[in-house]
């Protein structure tokens, strides 16, 4: 994992949490002492190591695809200016309030994060969904002068070993794609992007009626993620209608041709299958003569 951040010259480390409140969600910073700051830096280092372990030797991380089924830990990335990273971009660039009472109710906390600045002014934000989060406030006299969170010997404030993702100046580096999907508001982003994605795909595939597909995808996240994947990979260009119909036929996706304008229409029960075909996830294989098999892949990699 190559970060645009110098972990050997960290100037500022700030700890913070995201909480669910009546009005929605809020993010705030929580003062933390130097031990906790050191632990947060170690977590970033550990995240880098874990990410590099998931990559095969010599391979670069792939761009995150919302329709792809990833493993628990798999290093992928997204450019920070991507539509799917808007929520994280806001957090990365936000000027947050300090609220040292934020840990008083751990049950409301859905994530914690570290924000760092290095000697060159580069910023880094690292996020994690907590697996176990306990905090106890000790009301000692020292707390009256210094109410920063202190790392104590008893296991009262447990940080994890690594982060789910790290944001640097240009990219979001994702170690746990499921964590990113939960923290980054990916589902709501791809549902909101359905009309835009449909419009883009329709430009290249005007021989298909997408009106009921758009309506379906607006309420079905999986279909919405397929649309985002198709558009982001540029896979709707130069598609031959005849080859499309043939592939749908052999992979059990029924299509109809409307008489008035000869456009391809898809019944609702076949919409997901149709999008899987467009997203290169449905394919036939014939290894035994005369015995064609049809498969569906939740995760696939292009080999050529």
């Amino acid at each position: 994992m190559e970060l645009e951040f110098n972990l050997q010259a960290v100037e500022t480390v700030v700890f913070g949490v995201g909480r669910s409140v009546d009005q929605g969600t809020e993010f705030c910073e929580v003062s933390a002492d130097s031990d906790v700051q050191g632990s947060l830096q170690e977590m970033v280092e550990q995240t880098k190591k874990e990410a590099d372990k998931t990559l095969e030797s010599g391979y670069e991380p792939e761009r995150y695809n919302p329709a792809e089924a990833y493993g628990t830990k798999e290093y992928v990335y997204l450019p920070l200016k991507d539509d799917l990273t808007e929520h994280l971009r806001n957090l990365h660039n936000a000027n947050l309030t300090t609220d040292n009472d934020a840990l008083s109710d751990p049950s409301t906390i859905f994530c914690y994060f570290a924000k760092m600045v290095d000697g060159d002014g580069n910023h880094l934000t690292a996020l994690r969904r907590p697996t176990q989060f306990k905090s106890v406030l000790k009301k000692h006299l020292i707390a009256l002068i210094n109410d920063a969170v202190r790392q104590v010997e008893e296991d009262m404030f447990q940080l994890d070993y690594d982060f789910d993702l790290i944001v640097d100046e240009h990219n979001v580096h994702i170690l746990r794609p499921l964590g990113f999907a939960a923290l980054g508001g990916v589902q709501s982003a791809i549902l909101e992007a359905v009309p835009e994605n449909i419009a883009s795909i329709r430009e290249h595939m005007d021989f298909v009626d997408f009106s009921n597909i758009e309506e379906y995808a607006t309420n079905h996240p999986r279909a919405a993620s397929y649309l985002a994947s198709i558009r982001s990979q540029g896979q709707m260009e130069n598609i031959d209608p005849a080859l499309l119909q043939e592939l749908c036929n052999v992979t059990s996706v029924e299509l109809s041709i409307r008489e008035e304008d000869e456009k391809i229409t898809v019944e609702e029960r076949f919409i997901l299958g149709f999008l899987e075909v467009l997203d290169r996830r449905r394919y036939p294989i014939e290894l035994r003569r005369g015995a064609r098999e049809s498969y569906k892949a939740y995760g696939r990699r292009k080999t050529s």
Partner: protein, 199 residues
């Protein structure tokens, strides 16, 4: 999203407010109050000067030791020199010139002082301290840059610094003295207090 502004370190802030009253206690100790024996008055005034300043210095030391700092991004910055004038006119002059000839007048002055202390504490004016002025610090109220980020804080911070001016967009690292008052990193030296001749 809501912008929260919760103050912590309430005792430390109270001590900072009391430390800003130090000139008044010093003047009272020098001038004397007829109703109170000198030994008692001077002892109490010295305590009211030393203890809050000790807390302030401890707070600075703890913040530095624990690296308790954050980045402050300058949108707009106001020089708070006028606040010192307000402090002078609301604080020092009226109390200095008050005649304390009876116990009722003494009680009234103490209660009035208590109101002022509470107001300064409640309004987060705990950064108004002649010590910073003597040490040639300036105090700015820094407003965050205006942006469309729904998560960004809209509230101001107070920055104690030796800089003469702050540029828009500048990022400054500051030690947290309270959730609203920060001391610019690199602008504090213990020699300022204990060995000024070394500077």
């Amino acid at each position: 999203m809501q912008n929260i502004r919760r103050e912590g370190l309430s005792v430390a802030r109270l001590m900072m407010v009391l430390s800003s009253m130090a000139p008044l206690f010093i003047i009272w100790a020098i001038r004397g109050i007829a109703l109170i024996p000198n030994s008692l008055l001077i002892s109490v005034c010295l305590l009211l000067v030393a203890a809050p300043h000790a807390v302030l210095l401890i707070r600075i030391a703890v913040a530095r030791r624990q690296n308790d700092k954050r980045q402050i991004v300058v949108g707009d910055a106001e020089d708070n020199r006028t606040h010192l004038l307000v402090y002078l006119f609301s604080m020092l002059l009226p109390f200095y010139s008050a005649e304390i000839g009876s116990y009722r007048e003494l009680a009234a002055v103490v209660v009035a002082l208590g109101f002022i202390v509470f107001l300064f504490w409640h309004l987060n004016l705990h950064y108004i301290n002649l010590l910073f002025a003597v040490l040639q610090y300036r105090v700015f109220t820094v407003y965050p840059p205006k942006d469309e980020n729904p998560l960004s804080n809209r509230t101001s911070q107070v920055l104690i610094t030796r800089q003469r001016s702050l540029a828009e967009g500048e990022e400054i690292s500051g030690y947290r003295l309270s959730n609203t008052v920060y001391l610019e990193v690199g602008h504090w030296s213990w020699n300022l207090i204990f060995r000024p001749w070394k500077l």
